[in-house]
């Protein structure tokens, strides 16, 4: 599964857990829009750290940066992960 699909699948699982079965596009805001909560953001951080060796420590973290699938994919492009598994 590529990074976009994996991210999308993870977002889907978070939404399902929150009881939200509405569809969403890759550009849809999920945190700012209120569909997901900050606790979900923490789960997403852990997912990115554990699955893709992301390290957010060396730059300011802002929840907006993981607000949508597109935002997270942009982080992959930015190279926040050290050594992909």
């Amino acid at each position: 599964m590529d990074q976009r699909s994996a991210t999308r699948e993870f977002f889907s699982s978070l939404l399902r857990k929150a009881g939200d079965t509405q569809p969403f596009s890759d550009s849809d805001s999920l945190f700012l829009s209120g569909r997901l909560q900050s606790l979900d953001a923490l789960e997403l951080i852990i997912f990115l750290e554990e699955e893709y060796n992301f390290d957010f420590a060396d730059r300011p973290f802002d929840q907006d940066r993981i607000d949508s699938v597109d935002h997270v994919v942009a982080l992959f492009v930015e190279g926040l992960q050290s050594t992909p598994r």
């Binding site: 829009s33 060396d58 973290f61």
Partner: protein
């Protein structure tokens, strides 16, 4: 930390006609005009926008002094007619309210410290310092102190304040430096959000950043908590289409109406609880704690509960009024306070009670700890980050906000006298931390009574915690503990 957004008003979504009939009807104090497609369509036109701003102005007239009201309305009308110029207008509006605020606050007749200042020095000092550090941060975003700009800013400020308090200087220079620091203290967290924006590819210019430093919608109440955060957040929530703007402005009008209703209710409540001879005539909580002379236990409970409700009501009115003005300027901001008494957990209450302060603590204290430390221990990681925000961040924020006390009392007294609030933040941090580690007190399908019981427990916790919510420097911890014990007849 869970955020209020799950329960806060949803973002601007296209309205759909709701099915008619008795089942879909629900009595509301403020009608849901934003859900009416016809009304939204009309509000999306220029005439509609002006009508909305006019209505908003009539309501706002009840809540602001005339000069400030006229300036705020001028900015809102201009932003409604020329939405493409919104950011420039916000900056102009903010500069105008900055002048008004400085003049109102530092007009002659104050203390010697205040009398020295003029509105000009206050505004120039704030703007120049902010522009300087933002420019440096943009030019060298990852070098030296700019790797951790907010931490550096706070250390720099604290060191400067300490130096200004202890280094002997001529009286006038000392007062000038101290005054400048007092003014800057109110803007520290606005600067922090601007510094965070330095790495964004679409970051706002220095001119537009100025517009977000105590923006005009905080009604010249000065610095402190950045209502509606900084430029980065505002870019994300800006209404992009006429329809989005229409819904946002309708929600602004609705929120202001709600604020005014609550303001009226608050006045009635204060009269009934404390002031009216025909009312309960409850004793003042602060006075009770200060004197240590307590009436019977149930009067103390009543005083505590009434004081707590009053605090929540005032926070709701003030904060949401700022948000209503921000919405009228075209930003889809979430409410500051949203049904706090419905919270089913301690963490949820804190979210619902003071959203933008919580966001500040999350952005600048929670996440920095969470993404760096205890990564292998999830529960420790969560608890440590929560303590960093609700305890440590909370203390730092209030200490720097009231930096004038360092100059008037001296550094040691200002620090040592802070003990009561330190206890408050420690209890708050532990409460939220434990609340987040535990399973929710209520399940989605829990009975009404189950939810009510959870809410009562949460309100009980915050009500008792309210005893220690004291940022002054005069009380001892013992005075507050004595009051707590008296509530349970243990004094």
């Amino acid at each position: 930390m869970s955020v209020v957004s799950s329960t806060a008003p949803s973002p601007t979504a296209p309205p759909v006609a709701s099915p008619s009939g008795p089942r879909s009807w629900k009595p509301r104090i403020v009608p849901q005009w934003d859900k009416n497609p016809k009304l939204v369509e009309q509000a999306a036109t220029l005439e509609g926008r002006l009508a909305l701003v006019g209505l908003f102005g009539l309501l706002l007239f009840l809540g602001l002094p005339l000069t400030l009201w006229a300036w705020t309305m001028a900015v809102l009308v201009a932003a409604s007619v020329l939405p493409a110029w919104r950011w420039n207008l916000v900056t102009v509006g903010t500069l105008g309210t900055g002048i008004y605020a400085a003049h109102a606050r530092f007009a002659p007749g104050g203390t010697a410290l205040r009398a020295l200042a003029t509105w000009g020095t206050a505004l120039i000092a704030v703007v120049l310092f902010g522009v300087l550090i933002f420019t440096i941060a943009v030019k060298w975003p990852r070098s030296g102190v700019m790797k951790r700009p907010v931490l550096s800013l706070n250390i720099f400020f604290a060191a400067l304040a300490f130096a200004a308090a202890v280094i002997p200087l001529s009286r006038n220079i000392q007062l000038g430096v101290q005054f400048t620091l007092v003014v800057l203290a109110g803007y520290l967290w606005y600067f922090a959000y601007s510094l965070q924006d330095r790495l964004a590819s679409d970051r706002a210019t220095a001119f537009h950043q100025i517009g977000t430093w105590a923006p005009f919608w905080v009604n010249a109440s000065g610095g402190g908590t950045p209502f509606c955060k900084g430029a980065a957040y505002l870019r994300r929530i800006e209404a992009k289409t006429p329809q989005e703007l229409a819904i946002t402005q309708i929600k602004g009008v609705k929120l202001l109406m709600w604020c005014l209703i609550l303001q009226f209710a608050t006045v009635l409540f204060i009269q009934a609880a404390f002031e009216s001879p025909q009312g309960l005539r409850l004793p003042d909580l602060d006075g009770l704690i200060q004197t240590g002379r307590f009436p019977v236990w149930y009067m103390c409970w009543a005083s505590l509960l009434a004081n707590f409700i009053q605090t929540v009501l005032l926070m709701t009115v003030t904060g949401n009024m700022f948000v209503a003005c921000c919405r009228m300027a075209g930003f889809r901001a979430l409410r500051n306070t949203y049904r706090p008494f419905q919270a089913a957990s301690i963490a949820e209450f804190w979210n619902r009670y003071y959203y933008y302060f919580k966001e500040l603590l999350v952005d600048f204290f929670f996440y920095p700890v969470y993404i760096r430390y205890f990564k292998r221990h999830r529960r420790v990681r969560m608890f440590a980050a929560t303590l960093a925000a609700a305890t440590f961040g909370n203390i730092i924020y209030h200490f720097l906000r009231d930096i004038n006390l360092v100059f008037t009392l001296g550094p040691w007294k200002a620090i040592a006298g802070y003990r009561v609030y330190a206890v408050y933040t420690l209890l708050l941090g532990c409460g939220i931390g434990i609340s987040q580690l535990r399973k929710p007190l209520t399940a989605p399908n829990q009975s009404w009574s189950g939810r009510a019981l959870a809410s009562v427990r949460v309100i009980g916790f915050f009500c008792l915690l309210h005893i220690f919510d004291y940022t002054g420097r005069d009380h001892s911890i013992t005075q507050h503990v004595k009051f707590l014990l008296h509530l349970f007849s243990l004094g």
